[in-house]
Amino acid sequence: MLDARLAKRRDAFALDVAFEAVGGSTTVVVGESGAGKTSVLRLLAGLDRLDGGHVTLDAVPYAEAGRGLHVPPWQRDIGYVAQDYALFPHLTVYENVAFGLRAGGTAARRIRTMVEESLGLVGIPELAGRMPRQLSGGQQQRAALARALVLGPRVLLLDEPLSSLDIQARRVVRVELRGLLQRLPCVTVYVTHSPIEALVFGDRVVVLDGGRVAQAGSREELLRHPRSPFVAELIGTNLFIGRAAQAGSAPAASIRTPEGAVAIEDTSGPGTVYLTVSPREIMLSRTLPEGSPQNVFAGAVMELIPEPPGGERVRVVLDTRPALVAEVTPEAVAALGLREGVRVYAAFKATGVHRYT
């Protein structure tokens, strides 16, 4: 089991992240660029020193800021695949994979078998004699993975493993990598900016925002119960944070739910109620809707974003209070004459609100 609390200051940026991960599972650290994702991996690998916190693997301390303990990277049982793979340009694929075995003093007669096994595991046994510059992005990625895995690390760190690939290669590698990671016995920590990758790979997902954990949990937990605006935006839903409405108070807005109205506030704390409304539940109209919808907000269209693939759906960002995102068909956009600045009413039923605490 990997147990880590990572604190690092760099100029104005402060990283402070804690998480645990068990063998055979993949923890995805997801966040925007600059959220501190690569720092997390460098601190785990020992390439950077902790300012605070600790890294412990199976009860063995690798780093402890309090007593200045720092096991150097080459003595850690941790494999690290950098974002651009960093294959040694002067060595063949075979020599790249053999590098760690030789450096670690593996008996020469065992090296050939281990390298071939590892190249077979990632599916490129025929590329052993090539130089890195002769490989495609996907092949380089596999070679780098083989180079890390041949050492049988107990922790595997992957930094944006798919981001250097073109879109076609990305899909193929994603499927294969997922199959491979599920078979590996080690703790995998996978860093990405992509919410899709987070949900595909992450048995557990740690959402990083400005160097802090915005939310951590299983992918189901994250999808069903986002707890911060950042996470909600990541998974593309509307999130409201509030408290059960009380008579006499005057909140900025309140949303009716099957269990009663919730006053929307910008704070979270004891008694906080979370509400999500799927963008597809939100109906737009140019005139005030009559009849069943119980929640109606007025506002102007800020942005129209066609959803890939093909733009069969369009996300409509509104400046309502609270801000809402609706998802409608291109036909609806045309029929309503939606464009930036047009004032609309956004309505959704109480039954369309998912409420949790």
Partner: protein, 243 residues
């Protein structure tokens, strides 16, 4: 240069004194280059990768022979390694004498040639992308192993270039050699010294020696620059690789 017929040139080169000087020059300059490379590699590595107290002072001392008049360098060496010098005293205790010996020639050449190698090697090390060293570190490679197997091969073109410059400087060394090691044929008389000596008695001989020295220098520099060209291209690609 052309006023001596080639046959005459060849005949002059049969002169044992000249052959001696040529052999001594080649041996001593290569020996000096080897010493400079062996001592210079770790120093260049330290300068390129580590910040420490007194780094600037060390840098200044390493560059000193480059700006010092060679005769002054010779005097400095004589003061240090002479019979009464501190280092000379210690060395004579183990039976080594430097002044006015072939070994002294090598030391004088290494002393003046060192900055050329250290400067080039340091720049070469600094140019290697850190990501390769990070990768090596996470692949069980302690710094020494990573240095030999990653940093040195990737910086090889700069190291070769530095060694070539260093060797050229050692081959042409005059002032420090004559001051520190003297001018004894067969022992400390290198080609530049022989040329200078010949110039005073026999202009044709001096020209012949100069032509020879020119050809030897050109051959060695060309062969050093041509062999690692593939390596150089490889390392250049490595440095250009997207981050």
């Amino acid at each position: 240069m052309l006023r001596i017929p080639p046959a005459d040139l060849v005949a002059r080169l049969r002169d044992p004194l000249i052959l001696q000087a040529l052999r001594l020059s080649l041996i001593s300059s290569f020996a000096a280059t080897v010493i400079v490379a062996a001592l210079g590699l770790p120093i260049a590595y330290l300068l390129a990768t580590v910040d420490f107290r007194g780094k600037r002072v060390l840098e200044a001392f390493i560059d000193l022979p480059m700006v010092l008049p060679p005769t002054v360098a010779g005097v400095a060496l004589l003061t240090a390694f002479g019979r009464t010098g501190l280092a000379g005293h210690a060395l004579s205790a183990v039976g080594i004498t430097l002044p006015f010996t072939t070994l002294g020639v090598v030391v004088a050449q290494a002393f003046v040639a060192a900055p050329f190698f250290v400067g080039a090697a340091r720049a070469g090390f600094a140019e290697v992308d850190r990501k390769y060293l990070d990768a090596a570190a996470t692949l069980r490679a302690a710094p020494g192993y990573a240095f030999l197997r990653v940093l040195v091969p990737l910086a090889a073109p700069s190291l070769f270039a530095g060694a070539a410059m260093s060797w050229a400087r050692a081959l042409g060394e005059f002032g420090a050699t004559i001051t520190f090691a003297g001018n004894m044929p067969g022992v400390t008389q290198t080609m530049p010294l022989a040329v200078y000596l010949a110039l005073q008695s026999d202009l044709d001989a001096a020209v012949a020696l100069s032509v020879l020295l020119l050809l030897v220098s050109l051959t060695v520099l060309l062969s050093i620059r041509l062999t690692p060209s593939r390596l150089a291209a490889l390392a250049a690609r490595a440095r250009r690789a997207p981050r």
